[in-house]
Symmetry: C2
Subunit: 329 residues, 2 copies
């Protein structure tokens, strides 16, 4: 039993995960692809010990709900069951970005927790097994274990559903600009809740799941062919696929703000002038822009002029979840 | 043969028309419902005579393309064929709003032209036959013949596909606020072209057509039950239905601007405070808000504060297309 700290990176999905085929196992309806971002991460320290009479959880100081705390404790239970211990733990976690606002804090959070908690409990899991464990906390966390660019397989059962790394053409020099807009308060409807509602109520869901499969194949082909514009087109088709599902969920989920669409329109306008930044948006108003190094400065400069754009974080592709030396308590 | 002037009103669809089952006959894929707006109209004067050696067409001075002019001439040909004459005509038409920017200028335009041209050619058509004739010029024009609140039937053949009036509960005191936003230039992709592209390329189209049928029934039930919030919900579901089809058309059609979404979000916020304005958007960025008289002032005041909102036109429900005394030339 040794106090352990781990760091994992947020990821942005290019082929989106939205809905589960098995809610208990968190098996997704379709395979997804994501890029992990080196500037956006969660750091988590875990210590098991008999000095703790109950689990103590702290997320960004006191910025968390009972529900969030319980979700962490449930994940500690999975680790305890795996290792065969009954010790309580202290968990301190810090996000270097606002959580619950569409920047995938649960992905980096449960990836960091999975790595820190297993190491702290004295076991070393393979990347595949860590990815599976993280998936139980939050589906997209499976991809933050892998880091880099990863594909998370649907799977037929729990052991089949994990993420593994894939490669992009090096010459693309890919950057992801994360544009934070408007107010950064937590969204009203959580991702988990939104997904369940969509599957239950959107008449477009069955077609959309089939489209996800086609778009995954298109994305893989575009990488193989080094076809940048097709790669970007798939990214935007997938952004629309997610949000049309949300818009047709009842009650409707409109995650976009005016700034979201202002950014879309500016990027479409820049594209007419040969600057190719492709947009994608998760379950919130913020926009991730996939671009090449050579266009990044121009895009940042133009988007920075839009009213309501608060901050643009220029990210490279991160490594996998990893342990670090510096503890949070 | 007598110079005749007619006026017809723009209409905003509550259940949307988007795509044709028969392009030649302009038979729509689904039945639709619309409200005609008393403040937004087209006035058209037509004169047939042997003093004209060719058709002379003028739309808003010189604000029209060869293609638009040809579409008018094609419609004159339909009238000539119907009446059995070969005389050329002069047509002068004026919109009291910017055309081609999502305010349904082709609807009011072809309705006014159908009425003026048939009268000028010396025949009196029934409202049903005028609606059918107008449909050949522009599908939604069939609804501007009827005016008021109208339903345009899909039809199995040309004679079955026309609009007729329906009634809303009088106590709703319904208003339509037309909010013009951003720049008012003509859109890049015409409605006709957009519809054809969507039918050919959006994987969601077959489901969306079925949804239109369900939403029509929901709308009719909500009117019968005087259920205002359900009526509003259908209006917004139909707005989303149209725009998700456009967003999933390839190349993608994103008609919304930042102001469009700013208005959506403001209305959703007002709704939390008991002010019920429901949004709908045609193929452009401008927003039509369906509300009750009692809420109209509050909504106008709040939306007027949004940057990029150029003008709010407070409309009642119009009458049918009609001839008027004052000629344009």
């Amino acid at each position: 039993m040794q106090k352990t700290t781990a760091r994992a990176y947020s990821n942005i999905a290019l082929v989106k995960y939205w809905g589960k085929q098995d809610a208990g196992l968190r098996l997704p309806m379709n395979s997804s692809v994501a890029i992990a971002l080196d500037q956006i991460y969660t750091t988590t320290t875990v210590e098991f010990g008999d000095q703790y009479s109950k689990d103590l959880v702290e997320i960004d100081g006191d910025q968390f709900s009972d529900e969030e705390s319980q979700r962490v404790i449930d994940h500690l239970d999975r680790v305890r069951k795996l290792v065969g211990i009954h010790l309580k733990a202290k968990v301190v976690t810090k996000n270097n970005f606002p959580k619950g606002a569409g920047a995938a804090s649960s992905a980096s959070g449960f990836a960091a927790l999975s790595l820190a908690a297993t190491k702290a409990a004295g076991i070393n899991l393979s990347q595949k097994d860590l990815s599976i464990l993280a998936r139980f906390g939050s589906g997209s966390a499976s991809r933050s274990i892998t880091g880099g660019v990863s594909i998370w397989y649907t799977g037929q059962n729990s052991q089949d559903s994990f993420a593994e790394a894939i490669e992009l053409p090096k010459e693309w020099g890919l950057r992801v600009l994360l544009v934070f807009v408007g107010n950064l308060k937590s969204k009203k409807v959580s991702t988990t809740e939104g997904m369940a509602r969509t599957k239950a109520t959107s008449p477009y869901y069955p077609v959309a799941v089939k489209e996800a499969g086609k778009n995954l194949q298109r994305l893989i082909n575009s990488i193989k062919d080094k076809n940048w514009s097709e790669f970007g087109q798939v990214v935007e088709d997938e952004c629309y696929r997610l949000h049309i599902l949300c818009m047709t969920t009842r009650p409707n989920l409109l995650y976009w703000s005016n700034e979201t669409v202002a950014i879309f329109q500016k990027l479409l306008n820049l594209r007419d002038h040969g600057i190719t930044g492709y947009f994608t948006v998760d379950a919130g108003p913020h926009v991730h822009i996939i671009c090449q190094q050579s266009d990044a400065d121009q895009i940042k400069s133009d988007l920075g002029k839009i009213t309501g754009v608060n901050k643009i974080v220029d990210c490279g592709i991160s490594g996998p979840a990893q342990t670090i030396d510096q503890h949070l308590f």
